[in-house]
């Protein structure tokens, strides 16, 4: 390309020949696009203008939803910002419910067991005849957790049919806590854990920021409590395998599996002795209960030194507002009830009952089905007592312990009908499968914490003409006992019931509309009242208690935040979003410590045979630094058989449970003695973390010495992608940060003063840089701030980004090649500090997306100017200008650009979910985070309509919107009063790597403030 031919001329010529090729293709009619208008316009509906509907769905737990609907199609699930528990935040899994709505596994037509599809009429006739024959006998129902008007309809249907009953089943539930509450305080409730006011949080293993309880509320609460600008609570988590929840802890106690209860009882004994919050009689009672227990015994059981435990109890004693979080039910096994009693008493002794463990605003225990219910149903079935079984959206064939032999039991039922939205292991066993409306297409209501009642409304027309299950039941009930329901459909019935229950002032229709808009009755009081310990608490509860010890290798099963009880395993987003701790996607793994692995002579990716009782499975090994020696761990939710080749992967951990029911009301899990043996084969685990490569906090990025000493300021020690600082430094106004970050910069300057000159040449005096002083930016300079103190790596932001920006799911093989398309990744760092002869583990999460650099390395290398800096501070990416050289990705410091190696594929009807405001990129195009530029466009559009500027807080990015712990802020940094500008000037704000290479990122991170002195700045 000599002869004076310039790079741009060459490209222009290339473009021209492409254009010529297109023009010669023929006439334009091949590009013809047609448009069908509405026959009857829908009131208030404008094409492309989104509507948000407040609703609820079973998988959301107690969180409220806002579903974005464009042109009659649901396109995104967000949290309801008016809901007091989640305030707009939403877990990754709940966001993925929309993939179930459009997924390939939706049941589309009624069908028989042999797979033969039948007409709606035939299905109805068949069902009616079976019910007619069973009338007066036993017609039973098996559903997921259900309450309110839905439960009433199910009960009247079953009641009208004869002697059956409605059984509810939930694989992962909080039944032991509900029972313990009844025993200790006489409250049949699940308390609301208000962590935000705490100054000390002691966790026994519950994954309360992933799966356990009101996850969003607890995540936000802990983030508030641990905020360094408040009183900076200390968080200690005791668990054998560090979970993502435990990763947030200041101290991880790697206790022996099964010793959670011993630890809780011993700590209770110590704390109660000096507690001011117990009455004399309560003190005596607790003392009598726990007198056999002390820290020495606990130390023996847990394997944690007595000193450490003494120190812990001492810290608890100093704390004014401490709270204890119980253990994870899957780990507790037969100890579940005892453990929860001990933890509740501990909370009582700590003075937490009321302000932090709030029973006044608790959730009724009636909402939580225990496993005894389904065991009872199985007994009835096995005694051939059930003639017709109606199953609705629950998958016991997958999640029941194998020894219950559910599939064999079902053959004892005269006729099984599944009212199903999605195919699964259970629908495969049903004699008749009838498609019903998805949760987002259905109506319903549900009681929740306090006096809150959530209202569920259909956000779109049902697909496949599938009616809501309750509508089918109402019509059947009316047929068999005439006049049972006066209302024509379930929506009307719900409305009548809703108004009767909640419309105290008789406003009628207006109240109904207001409830729909709000998402229900959403008022939640501030704080609860303390309760006295019930007098009839058994005094011999812990007398003969000895912890469940497993001397051999121990298996710990933990609920997966991505798959839960398994219903999310056929959703591409959940498979492709990495596990927070190991980064594993698309599959199961057996987590094991390095030491134990070498003991058993197994290596990373070795396929081993895992023997649990009579079952044995083959699973690959994942070596981990965050698990206790002698323990192996596995998550739930995978190992399906009916989701098709792409999703039938991994191991079903529920199969290791046994059908004996604990006194906590759950199938027995707990620590299990297992053995592993190498098979000699390998199965590579796909992980987005590369162990040992850049995942250690203290590992320098390069070998160079960073920082030039400035008088009076210490030299920076290592890399500054991720930074922490000690609480002492924070309280002294920033202290040790050698690069002269914001606090050292003149107040009026946007950017820190750079002192480092050894990576890239200082471009301060070059023309490009001069043009990009503050004046470069017009009215807006969009910036983000991410508080690393609040982030817990849950992945909600990643999922929100998938949903918002039409990111394709690539599949296991492509992710293995590093071709995942996720625009946000969550970096996980670990560090190990030697303190007092022991190793302290520190884990940190950092959401990493395009930093929208003011001095971007990617822009200068783009030959086609597809990426450039806008006057609003965005690093723009014009997709259709991109020719796919990938120079930008090579040059990107943060490795946040993604290349489309293929045209995106959206299986099933998942393309219905695509956001019309964002292009779907084609093969050969680079893409990356754009700070949700289409949302910026919408916000500016609205502001322009009203002839004003965009207000602070008005423009919210998708990741910010979804974050349950509110770690992300976004706004206009040119406005010095904006939240984001203020955060950027906090003493602990820094811009990742900026001090070295002067990329001038638009994202300011707030350093994680640690209680230890060993901070990384």
């Amino acid at each position: 390309m000599t002869n004076g031919m310039k790079r741009r001329n060459f490209l222009a010529l290339m473009g021209m020949s492409g254009a010529a090729a297109t023009l010669s293709c023929g006439d334009q009619s091949q590009f013809e696009e047609t448009w069908k208008p509405w026959v009857h316009p829908v009131d208030g509906m404008i094409p492309y203008v989104p509507h948000y509907y407040a609703t609820h769905c079973a998988e959301a737990g107690d969180a409220g939803l806002w579903v974005k609907v464009v042109d009659g199609r649901a396109v995104k699930i967000e949290g309801n910002p008016n809901h007091p528990l989640n305030l707009g935040g939403l877990t990754a899994r709940t966001q993925s419910v929309i993939q179930a709505l459009y997924g390939a596994d939706r049941v589309r037509k009624p069908r028989l067991k042999n797979g033969k599809e039948i007409s709606w009429f035939e299905a109805r006739t068949l069902l009616e005849s079976k019910l007619q024959a069973a009338k007066g006998k036993n017609v039973s129902a098996l559903t997921g957790p259900m309450s309110g008007a839905k439960l009433e309809v199910w009960s009247s249907f079953i009641g009208s049919m004869g002697a059956g009953r409605v059984t509810q089943y939930e694989a992962l539930n909080q039944a032991p806590l509900a029972r313990a509450s009844e025993m200790v305080f006489g409250q049949a409730k699940i308390p609301l854990f208000r962590l935000s006011g705490a100054d000390f949080v002691l966790g026994f293993g519950a994954q309360f920021m992933e799966t356990w309880g009101a996850v969003e509320f607890q995540s936000r609460g802990l983030a508030d409590a641990m905020s360094p600008s408040g009183h900076r609570a200390m968080f200690v988590q005791a668990e054998p395998k560090l979970t993502a929840t435990g990763a947030k802890a200041d101290q991880w106690l790697a206790i022996a599996p099964g010793s959670e209860t011993a630890l809780a009882v011993a700590i209770l004994h110590e704390v109660a002795a000096h507690s001011e919050h117990l009455s004399a009689s309560e003190k005596a009672m607790v003392d009598a209960l726990t007198k056999d227990w002390n820290l020495d015994r606990a130390s023996q059981a847990t394997g944690i030194s007595v000193n450490k435990l003494h120190h812990l109890v001492e810290s608890l004693g100093h704390a004014k507002m401490a709270v204890a979080m119980p253990g994870e039910d899957l780990s507790l096994g037969h100890d579940a009830l005892k453990h929860h009693v001990a933890v509740l008493l501990l909370n009582k002794a700590l003075g937490a009952i009321g302000p932090r463990v709030d029973y006044t605003h608790g959730k009724p225990a009636s909402l939580i089905p225990s496993h005894e219910d389904i065991a009872g149903l199985l007994t009835d079935i096995n005694a051939r007592k059930v003639d017709v079984l109606v199953i609705k959206d629950v998958n016991p064939a997958y999640s029941l312990p194998t020894d219950t032999d559910f599939s064999k039991a079902l053959t004892q039922v005269g006729f099984t009908v599944a009212l199903a939205t999605n195919d699964n292991e259970t629908t495969a066993l049903a004699d008749l499968v009838i498609p019903v409306a998805h949760d987002l297409e259905s109506w319903g209501d549900r009681a929740s914490y306090g006096d809150m009642h959530l209202l569920q409304q259909a956000v779109m027309t049902t697909r496949f003409e599938a009616p809501q299950a309750e509508d089918i039941l109402m019509s059947l009930t009316n047929q068999f006992s005439e006049g049972a329901f006066a209302e024509e459909n379930f929506r009307d019935y719900l409305k009548t019931r809703w108004l009767a229950k909640h419309d105290a002032n008789g406003e009628g229709e207006a109240f109904w509309v207001a409830s729909l808009k709000e998402g229900g009755v959403l008022t939640l009081g501030e704080s609860g009242e303390s309760l006295a310990v019930s007098a009839n608490l058994r005094s011999d509860l812990f007398r003969d208690y000895s912890p469940h010890r497993v001397s051999a290798l121990t298996l710990k099963i933990h609920p997966s935040s991505r798959f839960g009880d398994g219903c999310a395993a056929n959703r591409g987003w959940m498979q492709e979003i990495p596990d927070p701790m190991t980064g594993v996607v698309w599959g199961s793994w057996l987590e094991i410590s390095e030491h134990t692995a070498s003991e058993y002579n197994v290596k990373q990716n070795d396929l081993v045979k895992l023997n649990v009782g009579n079952t044995s499975v083959e699973v690959p090994i994942m070596i981990s630094a965050t698990i206790r020696d002698g323990v192996v761990a596995m998550g739930t939710g995978l190992g399906h058989e009916s989701f098709g080749a792409a999703y039938n992967r991994g191991i079903n951990a529920f199969h290791f449970l046994t059908q004996t029911i604990t006194d906590g009301g759950q199938f027995t899990s707990g620590p299990m003695a297992v053995s592993i043996s190498a098979t000699g084969r390998k199965e590579s685990i796909v992980t987005t973390h590369v162990p040992g490569l850049g995942d250690r906090i203290s590992q320098p990025l390069t070998g160079t010495v960073k920082g030039i000493p400035i008088a009076g300021q210490p030299v920076s020690r290592d890399r500054d992608v991720y930074m922490t600082m000690s609480l002492a430094d924070f309280q002294h106004g920033g202290g040790d940060h050698g690069h002269g970050h914001h606090s050292a910069a003149p107040a009026e300057s946007m950017f820190p003063v750079h002192v480092d000159q050894n990576f890239y040449p200082d471009r301060t005096d070059t023309k490009v840089f001069k043009d990009r002083e503050e004046t470069f930016y017009d009215d807006y300079k969009w910036e983000m701030s991410i508080d690393l103190n609040r982030c817990n790596g849950c992945g909600a932001c990643v999922t929100a980004c998938y949903a918002e920006n039409n990111l394709p799911v690539m599949g296991r093989d492509q992710v293995a090649k590093g071709r995942e398309m996720s625009w946000v990744r969550i970096n996980r760092y670990v560090a190990f500090h030697e303190e007092g002869g022991e190793i302290r583990t520190e884990v940190a999460f950092m959401p990493m997306m395009c930093q929208q650099c003011g001095n971007a390395p990617c822009e200068s290398v783009c030959p086609s100017l597809a990426t450039y800096h806008t006057r609003e501070g965005l690093n723009a990416m014009v997709y259709n200008r991109c020719v796919g050289t990938r120079y930008c990705a090579n040059n990107c410091t943060y490795k946040v650009r993604r290349f489309n190696w293929f045209d995106p594929e959206f299986e099933g009807d998942l393309n219905w979910q695509l956001n019309p405001a964002v292009s779907t990129r084609r093969r050969g195009v680079m893409e990356k985070c754009t700070f949700c530029v289409h949302r910026i466009r919408e916000a500016k559009d609205k502001a322009r309509d009203e002839n004003r500027k965009v207000r602070d807080g008005e423009m919210v990015t998708a990741c910010q919107q979804a974050c349950p712990s509110k770690a992300i802020e976004f706004g206009n940094a040119s406005d010095h009063d904006s939240v984001v500008a203020k955060k950027a000037h906090e003493p602990h704000a820094y811009r990742s790597l900026d001090a070295h290479i002067m990329t001038k990122p638009a994202i300011s991170y707030l350093k994680k403030v640690t209680l230890s002195d060993q901070a990384h700045s």
Binding site: L13, M14, E33, K36, V39
Partner: protein, 185 residues
């Protein structure tokens, strides 16, 4: 599937190299100077519509304002095509003897929509907002041509990027932006 894609990718790469070779040869020979943008012809695109609707009659002769039917123009990205109910509001009574109206009425009875062919269709990677342009005071005719004179609508403007940018450049004072991200989504 992915394998086929790989093959396809390899083939397209070969074709691409071929095109590259040809274009390089063309450049070296300089036999025919490369065509300039202005030379590229944009035919007046005039697709056949399922129903012979006349804008000349409605907007021209009868003088019905554009936004009377295209009600979304000031409220959305798209101007929209009126719902059939809106057509029937008049045509329940008016001109019911004409075949086109009868055809439409029959479809309306059956709850079927007419499948109109888009005349002005922008690529999917372009964001264009009718609302912004209408509220800035532009006449519909600026982009759509003298629609009130057209028996069958044809595309008057090329709707190319250069054409958009030129107008934006002329209206910078009024707030039109030249930033790529204003239109590219």
């Amino acid at each position: 599937m992915k394998n086929r894609k790989k093959q396809f990718g390899a083939i397209s790469l070969l074709i691409g190299l071929g095109v590259l070779a040809i274009s390089l040869t063309a450049f070296q020979n300089s036999a025919s100077p490369p065509a300039r943008r202005a030379d590229v012809q944009f035919d007046a695109y005039q697709p056949e519509q399922p129903i012979a609707y006349s804008h000349k009659l409605h907007a021209g002769d009868l003088g019905i304002p554009c936004e009377y039917c295209h009600t979304y123009a000031r409220r959305s990205r798209t101007a929209g095509i009126p719902a059939m109910e809106q057509c029937m509001a008049c045509h329940q009574i008016l001109a019911t003897d004409r075949p086109a109206i009868q055809q439409m009425a029959a479809m309306f009875e059956k709850n079927e929509a007419i499948e109109w062919v888009k005349v002005h269709d922008l690529p999917d990677f372009v964001y264009f907002s009718h609302k912004r342009h209408v509220s800035a005071g532009f006449e519909c005719q600026t982009c759509h041509g003298p629609i009130e004179t057209m028996e069958v609508v044809s595309r008057e403007a090329p709707l190319t990027m250069g054409w958009c940018v030129n107008c934006h450049r002329e209206h910078r004072e009024q707030g039109a932006s030249l930033d790529c991200l204003v239109c590219h989504k």
